[in-house]
Structure formats: C-alpha cells, structure tokens
Amino acid sequence: MPKMNMVQALNDALRVALGRDERVVVMGEDVGRVGGVFRVTAGLIEEFGEERVVDTPLNEGGIVGAAIGMALYGMTPIVEIQFGDYLWPAYDQVVNELAKYRYRSGGEYSAGMVIRTPVGGGIRGGHYHSQHPEAPFIHVPGLKVVCPATPHDAKGLLLASVRDPDPVIFLEPKRLYRAAKGEVPDGHYTVPLESARVVRSGPDVTVIAYGAMLYEALDAAAKAAEEGVECTVIDLRTLWPVDIETIAASVRATGRLVVVHEAPRTCGFGAELVALVCERVFYHLEAPPVRVTGFDTPFPYSLEMEYLPLSHRILPAVLEAARS
C-alpha cells in the first residue's frame, strides 16, 4: 500500500469520488488551477475539467446555497471552504436550509453533500486560520460531523461521507495535512461513519480525542504509562452521531474520563461528551470527568502553543483523573 500524507490521501479520495460517479462535483474558492490553498484539490481540474472542479466567487453562503440546489437535483457536491473560520458566512444556509431540507419537506427532498474544510491551530494562523468549529454544527440536527486523524481514515471517511445520504461537515485538521503519514489503500474504500477507533487500550483512564489532538493524547498516554497509568485512547473519527457504545464501554471499564479538544471549552463538544457519559455510565465514574481544551479566548497568534491543549496539559489531567 502506498504511503501518503493526509493531503495526498484526501486528494486521492476526491479523485476516486470524481472518477466513480459523474454526479460528484468539487467546488470552492481556488480549488481549480491552484488546487486549493493546501493543494488538496491539486490536479483535479486537469483531470476532470472546469465543469466538475469549479472555482467559485468569494461568497461561502452562496457556494453552500448553490450546492444545496445541485444536491436537490441529484448531484453530490463536495464543497471546499478555504478555512473553517470562513464557514460562518455560510452558517445560515447550513443551519436553516441544508440541515432542515429533508425534514421540512417530509422526506420529499434531500441534500446529501459534503462540506470539507481545514480546521485547527498550530500553523501560526491566528484567529482566522485556526478555529475548530465543530460544536455549532454538532448542535444542529440533521448534520453529520467528521474529523479524521490519519491519512487512511481521511480517505475512507471522505468516501463514506460522499456516499452518505445526509449532509456531512468534514473537518480536516490542517496541522496534520503534511505531518500525518501512513499507508492508504488504493481505489475505493470507506471507513464507516459513526465508528470510533480505540487507538490504545489501558484499564485506568479513558481519553477521548480527535483530529490533531489525538497525537497529543497519545503522547500524554505514553508518558502516563511511564508513571504507571495506562490509558485507553479513543479517536472519535465521526464526532456526530458519536460512537457512544465504544465510549460507554470504555468508561464503564476505566471509570475515568478525559476529553480533549482544541476548540474553546465552554459549550464545546467536550461538554456534550461529559454529559453523555454522565447520563449513561454515571455509576461507573470514579472521578470527575475532565476537559482539556482550548481556552475561552479567540485563538491567539504568538501564544498558540500555550492555547492548544497539548500533551503537557493532557498529562496532568490524566494523572489527576487516575489518582482521584
């Protein structure tokens, strides 16, 4: 199997998707000749032409809105929003239209599509090239939200999202674009949505992470092991609908939970995970569930490594959970 980084794996997935089904179109700002600012769409316009790989004007709401129309007609648009920070101008079309179209039409219409976007910090992008915007989408009924951490999963989850009948917000951890490398199968395959991956098993503490923070969680877990604390580390992969069984089973076994995410803590996805775990396996909890997250500030520039919930902040939380 070829070894690829995440950009290559995603590019491969798009190529496979475009090649398999002529109803698939890729659209967004600068996805054509330049191949996207991160090159995820590189070479696609040359291979599939200007009609199916479309450089659009600069209006995210319009891109998503037009993609909804395409989807109503039976196409499967894959929209690129240049940075997750620029999803907000499209938020109304996503919340009020995309997410509700099937429901409000009594199932007469549906709008399956994928909105891909690079997310997260650690590339010195400041406020506007670093946000990790899952929570305001997970809150909206009708959307699925995906966030891969490996090239293998990136390709398999993207192909699963393309085939999924529901709209998928596909968050790509940009810090992993070139850093994450791994074996990626040729051709078409899918990684099922709604299935988490247990990356490391241990009896003491359950650590839930996703995207770029997975590697921080794993690093912290390795260091905790040196101190005799063995963690289970779960890579959620699909954030919503979340694989609650895997989480509940693990917390039932460990009794201790640490949730990690880059986004600000308050009303972040970590809160939901804590609440879910409390509702289901409360009597198995032996310590307060802990959130290790981005701070409740805008994403900073110079101090971004202090902002991010990296290993050095996860480790103490894990040790404290284990020991309380």
């Binding site: 809105g65 129309g69 039976g74 109304d92 239209e97």
Partner: protein, 379 residues
C-alpha cells in the same frame, strides 16, 4: 486581453422601461409582445388566478376563525405569481418564497394536499412540520418553502447549474420579494448566475413593501431590475399586474436560458394589497389611500375584461367556477379538519435518512412518556 478589456467585453444595458401588454381596461396595449394565448389557455389562466384569490380569501377566514394558525396571502399579486408559473414548462422548477402557494396549485399540487398542509395534519406531505402555506411539491417541481427571506435563490441557481452540467433542458425560477434583494443570498445567487451563465430566472416581486419597510428604505437603486447589471445579468421590468406581460417576459427569459445565454432578473411591479401576513397590521405604517390606485389595476379584473371582450367566459361560467372552487375547498377542509395531527413517531423521522441512536432513544422516550397538558404555563 488585459483584465479591463476582459471585463468590458460584457455589457448588459440597463432596462428602465416597463413591459406592458394588457391595459387596466383589459385591452391589449402592446400586441407585439402579446404571448398569444389561445382562448382556452386564457380561460385557464384566469381560472388559476381566480382560484388563487379564492383560496387566499378562504384561508384568511379560516385563520380569523382560529381554525388554522397563520396565513400569508397574495392579494393583488396573482398576475405575477400565476403568469410566471404559466410561462414555465413542466420540467422547470419553481423556488418559491412564502407568498406563492398559488403557483403550487396551478402546477398541479392536489387541493387536498394543499389544505392538509395548512392544517399540518397527518396527511400533510411535510408531516405537519411547517407553518401553513409552506408547501413542498416534488411531483410538480415545486421546491420546499422556507421562511427565511432569500435562501431559496441560491438553490434555484444550484438546480439550474446542475441541469446545465447534466445537459438537461431544465430552467429554474426563483420568486422573491423586493426586501429579499438586500439579502446575502440574492447577491450571491445573482453573482453565480451571471458568472456561470446559468439557466435561471430571478423574479423579484416588487410589491412595494417588506412588512413595514417601503422599497425606498430597502434600496437607493432607482429600480430593482438594474441590480442585474452588477452581476452581468440583464434586468427587465414588467407590469406585475399584467398577466400577459409577465408571461411574455418570463417566456423570453426561458428562451434565453435554454439558448445558453444565461440568467434574467425580472422586476415585476406589483403591490401587496393585503397585510404582510395574518400577523400584520398595515394600518400602523401605511394609509388606505396608498392602496386605492391599485384597486383600479386589479390583475384579475384585467384578464376578466379581456375574456369578456372576447366572449370567452360569461358571468355565469365565472360564478360556476368560483362555486366549484369553493365547494372543493370546503370538502378538502372538512376532510383535513378531522384528520388527526401527525403521529408522534413522525417527530424524529427525516432528520437523517436513517435515525441514529440518539434519535431512536429520543423517540422511544417520547412514545413512553406522558402527553403535555395544554395550554402551556406562564407566570
């Protein structure tokens, strides 16, 4: 080519003139533009406009009687709504705002389905999930009606775009109001329509008001039609109370779209004679005297005068048709009103294609739980 030259090779001219075919008195004022409908076609047009008005009146009455929760009417705007619908072909799609439910019926949405929607009952195509008059009709290529202003315009652009990519002979038409031209969605959609030369018709029903906001507070542009220039989309103004003129300009726009020349922005000059919706009280912001000139320009009367002059219908025919609409509406209401509300099991359907675990759990909890005591509590 320098970039300036590239830009100047495209040059849609502004169109300030207002297209008219049928005078207020029902005579043809511009035969060159007359779409040339046959006698039976004219009768059908009249009847569809007429039914639209009757249903509107009846629904308002039901709302006042407290039998339905809400109504949004189209009094005085029937020529724009029904005329535009007439000019489309069966394969063309309509993207309505909330004021064009008459178009759905004209296209063939069964009256019972129409009435079930306003009652939001178990037979409602959208399972009682939307407010009254928010119709959906996939079978008649009528998109799902949404309350947010303007959001349907990019959808119309997207369907047109998809049809173009699929080489299908399909044109889409988006209805929207003067107020909607201020939204992001109008701007984004018109821009995409222009850049990609899409087979879409952007039909602005300029009815003078956006709730209490008059057009001059909505924009300082002299006309809505010329807003098309900003997008390389030709604009045309039409007398929106003149059904034949509306048919003529929409047909022209359909032809333009089919020929690959792209989109048209149509500004139909009409007037919202009623309240914004059943929740509105226009006496707070406009005088009766403003409405009066528009009574003279009643779009229905104009067509009726034409039909009478051509002896295509008699007063008796008309009365019979109106009685027939009335009767079938009453029957549909009788059925709808004793149809129960949607079953509890529908509440969690269609959020996703297949309900995920959390919705399954929530549905089970709902079905297991007790029923609410009406009415809700306060203070």
């Amino acid at each position: 080519m320098t970039q300036t030259e590239r830009q100047e090779s495209r040059n849609p001219a502004p169109l300030r003139d207002v297209v008219r075919v049928l005078g207020d008195d029902g005579t043809i004022v511009d035969p060159t533009l007359d779409p040339g409908l046959s006698g039976p076609e004219l009768v059908a047009l009249y009847r569809d406009m007429s039914r639209t008005r009757i249903l509107d009146e009846r629904l308002l009455t039901l709302q006042r009687q407290g039998r339905i929760g809400f109504h949004v009417g189209s009094l005085g705007e029937e020529a724009t709504i029904i005329g535009a619908t007439y000019a489309l072909r069966p394969q063309d799609w309509i993207f309505p705002c909330y004021r064009e439910s008459g178009a759905a019926v004209t296209r063939g949405l069964p009256l019972q389905a129409f009435v079930d929607n306003v009652f939001g009952n178990a037979n409602d195509l959208v399972k009682g999930r939307q407010m009254p008059d928010h119709h959906t009709g996939r079978a008649v290529r009528f998109a799902s009606t949404s309350s947010p202003v303007g959001t349907q315009i990019p959808h119309a652009v997207g369907v047109a775009w998809a049809a173009k990519l699929r080489r299908d002979d399909v044109v889409t038409l988006a209805f929207f109001g003067d107020g909607a031209t201020s939204t992001n969605d109008f701007h984004a959609a018109a821009n995409l329509a222009g850049v990609f030369r899409l087979p879409v018709i952007l039909l602005c029903r300029n009815n003078g008001w956006a709730i209490s906001t008059p057009v001059e507070r909505q924009t300082a542009s002299p006309t809505f039609a010329e807003k098309g220039n900003a997008y390389g989309v030709p604009g045309v103004r039409v007398d929106g109370n003149d059904a034949l003129a509306v048919i003529a300009v929409v047909r022209r726009a359909v032809e333009r779209a089919r020929s690959g020349a792209g989109a048209t922005l149509i500004e139909a000059l009409t007037y919202r004679m009623g309240a914004h919706t059943s929740s509105d009280d226009p006496s707070r912001y406009r005088t009766e005297s403003e409405i009066r000139p528009w009574v003279e320009r009643d779009p229905l009367e104009r067509v009726r005068r034409l039909l009478e002059a051509r002896r295509l219908i008699s007063r008796a025919d008309d009365d019979a048709y109106r009685a027939e609409v009335d009767r079938s509406f009453r029957e549909a209401v009788a059925v709808a009103e004793c149809t129960p509300p949607p079953g509890l099991h529908t509440l969690h359907e269609d959020v996703y294609a297949t309900p995920p675990w959390h919705l399954v759990e929530q549905r089970e909890a709902l079905l297991r739980g007790s029923r609410p005591a009406a009415p809700p509590r306060t203070v």
